[in-house]
Assembly symmetry: C2
Homo-oligomer: 162 residues x 2
Amino acid sequence: MKLPVSTEWLLHCAATLAQLEPGVTASAAQLAEYFDLPAPYLAKQLQTLVRAGVLVATTGPRGGFRLGRPAAEITLLQIVEAVDGASSPYECREIRQRGRGALPPQDCQDMCVLARKMADAHEAWRRSLGGESLADILATLPASAPARTRSRLAASGSSRSS
Amino acid sequence: MKLPVSTEWLLHCAATLAQLEPGVTASAAQLAEYFDLPAPYLAKQLQTLVRAGVLVATTGPRGGFRLGRPAAEITLLQIVEAVDGASSPYECREIRQRGRGALPPQDCQDMCVLARKMADAHEAWRRSLGGESLADILATLPASAPARTRSRLAASGSSRSS
């Protein structure tokens, strides 16, 4: 049971974008250099956050990514599920209805109790991540963090040569 | 983020063994036929539960598997972690310490806040599954279930010809 490596990338990129002034964007190249990540692959991954509405992509010479809604309205769950999907890690193939022990269909109208307990656990996980917003994360950072983040990000990527 | 398909197999096999009379065992062949599963692969997987202490394997002509401790002391978490390991699905590679935005080591003595929130969610998942025992699962089954399970299991696998 593994989340993609890019989960860490996108959580950090979103938390970084949450520290920019309203309306300011950062390019995939800037974010890639900021975290020393492979830019083309990161760009692709950032698009998954755009599709999920977590980020907005703007075009043009100063184009890039910014948050798609306020940091208080973006949860870690939304980011993680944009990367990995929302399905439970447990797959129930209804083996209770197979083989010599097969239960008759009328006994299987309710969800299998084991599948239900696995789903409950997945819900507990989702609730935990759904209760943490980017604003909550930012509130844990030192007061000096946003200024540092902005200045280092501005010095990164395609804008470096300016 | 996927658990192995065998997770369902082992949850059901353990719940099935929990319905046998004390001291009675079932072979891998019986369990495989009971659920229509590939016997050699199931046998291998059952050994992971033996290594975790969830099951005991006995040898000899009537050898097989039985619970390694009372059903009330075996949690779904122990079974799932025997199959898949206990590590978190989220991997933190400390990208906060990499690239142009790298935080200095003295700012990274605490765990990354994002990794901590991901670990909290994994703990919520573990707590949920750790709070459900095989005895809890059995308590949800109809009163007629154990007798049916025993009789169908006895008719399965290598003992079928007797």
